[in-house]
Symmetry: C2
Subunit: 662 residues, 2 copies
């Protein structure tokens, strides 16, 4: 064993130690008044209640799949360790999500309390909490991969598909279930509270307000974290696998090493997160870490393998990620033209608002698609398929800090909610809202980044799949003249539409139950007349049950369809299926996420006082657009990230089964 073999493990341990340190720092901060503690506690308990219920369902699924994998390892070439790796991958992903949720729901009141002393103090607490999540994800991710690597060395890659599959399974349920939870709570709270009863956002009289705040954590912390944990480990696994199969120098360890450098860069850059303006602070952190990483990776590549081509592939991915982030920011920010055009269209009513939002969302696909296509072609020129995997790793290298900025969002959002509910007064509320506004922008950028990284990771996985299929059959026909492949392309292309249809419908159904429950509480408990207290747990129960019930069908589809198609024709139809779903999944995810973000910010733009401001007809139209956009950007869009990666990793895990049947 050489020194470079243990560097990844060490970097993972460092990341986790930093996370522990930050946790201790946050816990020491005062949590504010009794009222603040009470509200924060409600959110904390609601979030854990959801996670516990979710884990029950997931564990059934995970145990069944693990047994199935072990059984298959007896009759096919699937290594028996795949089953163990699957369990570990699922456990590590769940653990990261759990840590993130706990710290986020611990930090919210503390961030609000710290804001009393100034914007900067509030930012530090909220960002520290995001950093705990970011570092836990990359730390646990690289730790898990390193352990298998150190035990099985070059054999690890094949086993690790199981690890990726485990991570994907958790991500699937977290994104789909979490997405349904967060938006049914949000839509329910808004439709009855804001629209019908006319009480403000985050009013403690709204029975769905706690569920709504829980939802922010469930969706944007646990969901986002599991999504990116999956992309992170999948890209590294496909890099290791392709590096070995295609015999690149140090191909087995280079991807892990690059990821380790990314962790170090993220930690160093976290120091940068100090600036007067919170947005500048976060942006400096993101770009700073990218620059540090680019320098470190260049030096290490030169020192280790002399050939700089793999490094160029990594940079192609890194730059692609930054371009996608900037494009997303442009298309969703309330300070840019697209959101303003939508806001102006609101003046002629909700229909024109919706149409302009759809139009802008569709238009916003250009830059990410073209940029990713170019990055892929370049990465391939530099280092074949291995280069594509390296591009994915490059894009995700600074995940530690970029996830920190994402997970900062819901903490700031909750802090603003707590300020409102606990009555901290105008000034503190304004400060926390300022933190929240920055969080909205970083959240939108984070979503674009999550989609882009999912797409390029899925591409890397597809190329890994094809490369491995060729090991079974060197003459495999994956030309576009193979009709089964074209049929797969069409059916694969359709799946993101079906998946989105199901998740949009699920939000609609659960939100309807929430609406009825909130209406019932208002009617029966006399909350608005000040006679009774709202029953927060009733609403939490509805969101939890609805989310868990509704997540099952789409989740099973995502696992079962590639297996069925693979059993039919894994050499043609399945390859087409994976490519088709990645193309439309990528497009639809960007469309849904950016349209949703732009609708949201068009409303915010009007609320700032433009075009008639709050209460005007234009504002009412914009609120409708925002309500349409909510499940698009927070449920259906993000769920597609998982769909495209999961189907590829499922195909990789079950490939020996398919081969044994033909």
């Amino acid at each position: 064993m050489e020194v470079i073999d243990v560097i990844p493990l060490v970097s993972g341990i460092i990341a986790l130690l930093c996370a522990v340190g930050l946790t201790i720092y946050i816990r020491k901060k005062p949590a504010g008044t009794e009222k603040m503690k009470e509200i924060s506690n409600y959110i904390y308990r609601g979030a854990l209640a959801f996670l516990n219920e979710e884990y029950k369902i997931i564990s059934v699924f995970v145990v069944i799949v693990a047994i199935l994998l072990f059984a298959l390892s007896r009759v096919t070439d699937i290594p028996w360790q795949t089953s163990i790796a699957f369990l570990v991958g699922a456990f590590f992903s769940a653990l990261a999500g759990n840590i993130g949720m706990r710290i986020a729901t611990t930090a919210n009141a503390r961030a609000a309390e710290a804001s009393k002393k100034g914007l900067q103090k509030g930012l530090t607490v909220a960002f520290s909490s995001g950093a705990v999540m970011g570092l836990s994800v990359v730390g646990l991710g690289i730790l898990g991969l390193s352990i298998f690597y150190l035990i099985y060395y070059k054999e690890a890659a094949a086993i690790l598909f199981g690890f990726g599959f485990g991570a994907s399974s958790i991500a699937l349920f977290a994104r789909v279930g979490g997405g349904i939870y967060t938006k049914s709570a949000d839509v329910g709270a808004d439709l009855v509270g804001k629209v019908e009863a006319g009480i403000p956002e985050d009013d403690p009289r709204n029975p769905a307000v706690i569920a709504d705040n829980v939802g922010d954590n469930v969706g944007d912390v646990a969901g986002m974290g599991a999504d990116l944990f999956e992309s992170y480990v999948d890209s590294i696994i496909s890099g290791m696998s392709l590096g070995i199969i295609l015999s690149f120098a140090y191909g087995h360890i280079y991807p892990l090493l690059i990821a380790a450098l990314g962790i170090i860069s993220s930690i160093v850059a976290m120091v940068f997160v100090k600036a007067r303006n919170p947005y500048t602070a976060l942006r400096n952190g993101l770009f700073g870490s990218a620059i540090i990483f680019a320098i470190l990776a260049g030096l290490v590549t030169y020192w280790l393998i002399k050939d700089m081509n793999p490094y160029y592939a990594i940079i192609a991915g890194l730059v692609d990620g930054l371009i996608i982030g900037v494009s997303t920011e442009y298309f969703t920010s309330h300070q840019r033209k697209p959101a303003r055009i939508i806001a102006e269209a609101s003046q002629t009513g909700p229909a024109t608002n919706i149409l302009q939002g759809m139009s802008m969302g569709m238009l916003s696909t250009v830059i990410p698609i073209v940029s990713t296509a170019i990055a892929m072609v370049l990465a391939y020129q530099f280092a074949n398929f291995y280069g594509v995997a390296l591009a994915a790793i490059g894009m995700l290298s600074t995940l530690g800090i970029s996830l920190a900025t994402d997970c900062y969002g819901p903490v700031a959002d909750n802090a603003a909610g707590i300020s409102e509910m606990a009555g901290l007064g105008e000034e503190i509320r304004k400060r926390t809202e300022q933190l929240d506004a920055v969080g909205n922008t970083t959240a939108a950028m984070g979503k674009g980044f999550a989609i882009g990284s999912a797409a390029i990771t899925a591409l890397a996985l597809i190329f890994t799949f094809v490369t491995r299929v060729k090991q079974y059959d060197p003459n495999v026909n994956i030309a576009l003249t193979n009709p089964n492949l074209v049929a797969g392309l069409f059916i694969g292309g359709m799946l993101p539409f079906i998946f989105s249809a199901l998740t949009l419908g699920a939000v609609g159904r659960t939100a309807e139950k929430m609406v009825n429950e909130v209406r019932r509480q208002f009617r029966e408990l006399g909350i608005l007349e000040g006679k009774g207290k709202p029953d927060y747990e009733g609403c939490i129960r509805i969101a939890t049950r609805g989310a868990l019930r509704e997540m099952i069908v789409p989740s099973l589809l995502a696992v079962v369809i590639p297996v069925v198609i693979g059993i039919w024709d894994y050499k043609g139809a399945l390859v087409g299926l994976l490519a088709g779903s990645t193309v439309t999944g990528f497009l639809l995810a960007i469309f849904l996420a950016n349209a949703g973000g732009a609708w949201d910010n068009a409303k915010k733009y009007i609320e700032e006082g433009h075009l008639g401001g709050k209460g005007s007809d234009a504002h009412k139209a914009a609120v409708i657009g925002d309500t349409v956009g909510d499940p698009c950007k927070d449920t259906s869009g993000p769920s597609l990230n998982i769909l495209i990666k999961l189907m590829s990793i499922v195909s990789l895990v079950f490939l020996p089964l398919f081969a044994s049947l033909h």
Copy 2:
């Protein structure tokens, strides 16, 4: 020359003679009162005014392209006759559209007048007018192809790509320009007339009412006709080309012959269009012609080539078309569950209405996609790529009658409008509205059919393209492991999104101008107070100019992008581009068309008195959904049909150019 060589020509002449006979029959019918004649005349003149303006722009484009093609024929392998074929194709398509528009705007008042004597009489006139269009399209289509075939025999196929390109060019402008025209007029008329001023649909005081009625013809007659003319000739051309290259028995004439049988079947089946219930009558005609065709084609195939495999491929396409029609009917009819679910979601406001509509539209992609994928795989099993082209021909074989039922729609719609505007009284209005309601259902089915046939025709063209590329380079790498091809797949997949974004935006912008014009007329002319008359031509001018201005950018994109990508890498990236755009174009077109149809019929369902009926909050929400759906189903969705076919035919025409550059 054998007898079978002239059968197609003869069938084309018969179709045109029938069209002439029906025209004489319609012209002899009384056009009703002076008021009715006046209104019909307004619509007639408005429609021709638009066509004339449109032709001016198109002829510039057509002449430039023809000169370019001729010039290229001097320096590449492009046959010089391609340029002539291009001009003839464009002229025939425009001629068919012109005939259809003239007869539809002649028949509308006559159908209203005939309705006075009974529903059946009204149906006969309206359907006869649709039949004139249907027969003109298939007659001119097969006539044009036959003439080239009789002159150049087996050499004709390569030349005829030019004919297809000419047809595509007209279709492009007709669909995009017509789609923008019809929906900006419709949205403008509704937003100010119905919503703001509270006057009913088709009220003669609404200045945009004539533009709205013109729009129905521009979009659903000229646009739909040109779209299907293109699919029709493209599928036959690709069949002839593949039949020759792949050396199938009678491969050069069999596709034309099959098309001729379809024409005969359509004419025979038109006799069936007699039943008490208009919907049953039209459905009997459609299914009747399919059965007759299936029998005739089976007999002729057995007699001519003994081998029944090509026939099975044809039947696969025919059945696929019927399945798509039935699926579309289910997902859009106001008597079915999807539209009702959307109607119910309207009770919780416009946002839930929009979300359910999007969800249903996405879900509605399953049957058409899976059915077409299966039809393609089967057709390939039966007769290789030639089978795929035959499947497209099979689906389009009975176009004569299916287009008749489509083009019946706008005539019935106009008849209802004229009854209202000319004050024909309650009973006649109800009758014409009954005719119109059936027209809405057949129009929705027609849209589904147009999309499905465009997709399978595009597939046939792609396979033709690949087959011809292989003639230049037998070792071409069109595997999914070619990164340029994958990049093409992504960029191609993106184009339908961009195209839809541009057309949706165009409707928004033009509708806004229309809204302002109608508001201005109401304000300045004192129309509502009965002091002044509306200036219909002002609104027609705005719709015409807006449509023509806005159609240019998306149209040029559709032509220029495949040429640019082809010059870069026609063997890899261009193949990917065509496949990617066909997959997402097919999906997005179904999504947009069916969501739009379902929103429309959810509104109609409420207007029938359900869930509170007209004027209720649910109705208001449903009207918003309908307004969102209008440009989706009548502008953006149908335009995608053209995009996917056009890019393939452009690639075929310019292939010799690409090859000469590499």
